[in-house]
Symmetry: C2
Subunit: 454 residues, 2 copies
């Protein structure tokens, strides 16, 4: 019995010592970042000196150069992956008006990404308001033909995690135009994907079904959507006019940017951290996704500042074209397969630079259980939620190569006040929140590097 | 055995059913608030129509009237508790300058609350920079006499919970003037209690030791404190000049405002929810503590909207004079004792209108364990942390009556960017974050009302 107790005690002591060492390293990761981090200054440059970075734009090209330069001061190796990207441009500022014989009221609108423009003659029409596609289909061609469809289903405020509310409403924005075109509509006005009532519109990607006519699509601010809906109830004869000058130009050569610290024991095994370099053209792409880019770079910087040598290769990837094509994410996965690269895990930060809540995952139960087993090490930093499904759009294409996908999950309450709008600017990012996210990702990479995910 | 199993199964079923009913009520609390809450509009009025509410000011008196009026639309009973409060006024805007024969550089400063003013002749002097009182004492009278002491110890960024960083630095602001006066200093300049480098100063209370001369005290912005420190290292002969016009006027009659829903079973047993109505004179008192006031009112409103009848009396208290005297909190506790009132629990929200993290407590281990036993019901809403010590300044005086004290604990990362500054304005409050806080407090009150804390 004595020997057995001693053995158990010995094993428990080893486990306790490992946990205690891990706690100490993780505290050092957070201390290093909070005292000496560089990601906030990086983000300031990316967002205020370079600014919005829509795929194919001159500023997206500048962001590629900038991130190469930053990574070259930190990483062992830096390279780019060429990828052709769509080049959609907004053109001059959009016009939106509620009109009748008596009134003409300007409302705030913006073209949806990838939409065709109306050109200078605009689109004028009677309006059918619907909440969803079922309602639209029930109305049928007779009611919809020749009209503008107004999709006005709000994001459900009762979802605590706002990405779920977004997911439950965004079909209107993505597929609304083609669903309406199938019934002969001449344009669509979509309520912005915003959590609250605001007077500025949210852009975002829309997709055309190639079997129907391409009709122009715009977003209207949530506050103006509410007003418009009230006015329509009072006067069904109101018309809507909008004018957009957006167009899709030929594809442009662009790049993913990659920087890595080589693993000391398993240089061919990669732990990937990432964000996407492109952003919508409104605002400065601060939370979406400048934050994710500078946090991914910061993982390498923290290890360098600490003099920590990982066993596996830690690779930071700045993807191009998440917003309106995912060309960078697809090309990265294609190359990974072609080169037979081994990814231990792929992590993306693309939910904003807010305070830590946890990590979401697209991974096996075993991987999820392993990450949850680290909870006591992570929860002092606000990382308590490991149950949601997730990952990230850019790392998604790696799923077919059996790579565990992990999304850094910050608090989601403010994201959809800024997302895809003029308000997504540097001043909306809190320095400590951004840094805590970078340190959270670094802590997870440290644990994966030490213990693996199998 | 069969009977025994059945009995266990029966008990487990009852527990599961109760948990399931509680989960359902708590979801209904959050749904009600997120769909139909009124606290954001209340806060907009309080902060933008009434504004800053320093004790003794005309706007503090307006806030008393306003909160009475709002509570009268919700509560069964509304009353006030008269209390005499200090009436400190800032006077005209302060001046701060770094000077020498060659230069005169303006820096951003503000008088600390309760400080004497310099008057129009200001204070000019050589400067001794110190990090703490030990360093000051080691320098001694010879080095300090006739000089201005510059306290420049930053809040430690490595504390994850920023209130701990505040607690570790705030002695400079509260006691710095008298500590310096003991050694013959003529004034003090204190680095602002801010988490990050900012160019605006943070005010806050300071206290004089009655045994030494009252010397004037100001805060300098964190960014300017850094600059000043660098300049002093390069040129020890630099002087500092500051001019403040603040003064303490005679006490003013003011009030705590109280509204309550009477308990259906135990009307004489009170569950208290609270915030403080007064604020500093800079900014609008939005996070500190307009948020706490409207959240306390909202607890009553949510129950009313839901048609929920609590067993115990739920009392919302708007305390007066938390910032520079705590007269309201002391008077409330005195009256509670005098009337032999029974408080089941006292809850305060005074850490800002940010997203939920948990509740901190000054309570027995049993009470803490009971609240932690509700964790599975609360963590879907981000409430995961129940371990920190806390409560709230205003409810503090109830501790001697053996009342469990509970502080609503939101995420703390942004608080000390706004606290006691011109930046503490309505636009810094996110609607959903504010509402989640109100619903969190309501959920806790629901559980305490149902199960008690014994």
């Amino acid at each position: 019995m004595k020997i057995s107790f001693s053995a158990i005690f010995f094993i428990l002591s080893l486990v306790a010592a490992a946990q205690s060492e891990d706690a100490s390293v993780i505290k050092s990761i957070f201390d290093t970042e909070l005292k000496s981090g560089g990601c906030y200054q990086d983000l300031e440059f990316l967002t205020t000196k370079i600014g919005a970075r829509l795929s194919g734009s001159a500023s997206a090209a500048k962001a590629v150069e900038w991130s190469k330069n930053v990574l070259e001061t930190i990483a062992d190796d830096v390279f780019t992956q060429p990828v052709m990207v769509p080049h959609w441009v907004r053109g001059q500022k959009e016009i939106g008006k509620i009109t009748s014989k008596k009134i003409s009221i300007a409302v705030n609108v913006c073209a949806l990404g990838n939409s065709v423009g109306t050109g200078p003659s605009g689109v004028l029409g009677s309006v059918i308001e619907v909440k969803n596609f079922d309602e639209l289909k029930a109305l049928g061609t007779k009611a919809v033909k020749g009209k503008i469809v107004f999709f006005n289903r709000p994001m459900d405020p009762t979802f605590i995690h706002t990405f779920q509310a977004y997911g439950s409403a965004v079909d209107q924005r993505v597929f609304g135009a083609s669903e309406a075109a199938k019934l002969g509509a001449i344009g669509v006005v979509v309520r912005s994907m915003g959590s609250n009532l605001e007077t500025y519109p949210h852009t975002g990607v829309m997709k055309y079904d190639s079997t129907v006519a391409k009709i122009p699509a715009i977003a209207i601010s949530t506050a103006h959507a509410e007003e418009f809906s009230k006015m329509l109830k009072a006067d069904k004869d109101l018309k809507f006019y909008f004018e957009t000058h957006c167009e899709m130009l030929p594809d442009v050569q662009s790049y993913n940017v990659v920087g890595e610290i080589k693993g000391s024991e398993y240089p061919d095994q990669i732990i990937l951290v990432s964000g996407h370099l492109d952003s919508w053209d409104l605002g400065q792409g601060a939370h979406d996704d400048g934050a994710g880019c500078v946090q991914a770079i910061e993982v390498l910087r923290i290890f360098k500042l600490m003099g920590f040598k990982p066993k596996h290769t830690i690779r930071a990837v700045m993807y191009m074209n998440e917003e309106n094509g995912l060309r960078g994410g697809n090309e990265y996965a294609r190359l990974a397969k072609e080169k037979n690269e081994k990814h231990i895990a792929a992590i993306e930060s693309d939910e904003g630079g807010f305070a830590p809540r946890g990590f979401n995952m697209e991974a096996s139960d075993d991987v999820r259980a392993k990450i949850k087993s680290w909870r006591t090490l992570l929860e002092p930093y606000g990382l308590t939620d490991f149950d949601l499904e997730g990952g990230g759009a850019d790392i998604g294409p790696l799923a077919s190569q059996d790579v565990p996908l992990i999304g850094y999950m910050p608090d989601s309450q403010r994201y959809f006040s800024y997302h895809h709008t003029v308000e997504d600017t540097f001043d909306k990012v809190n320095k400590r929140e951004l840094e805590l996210g970078a340190a959270s990702m670094t802590a997870l990479v440290y644990l994966i590097d030490k213990y693996g995910l199998k």
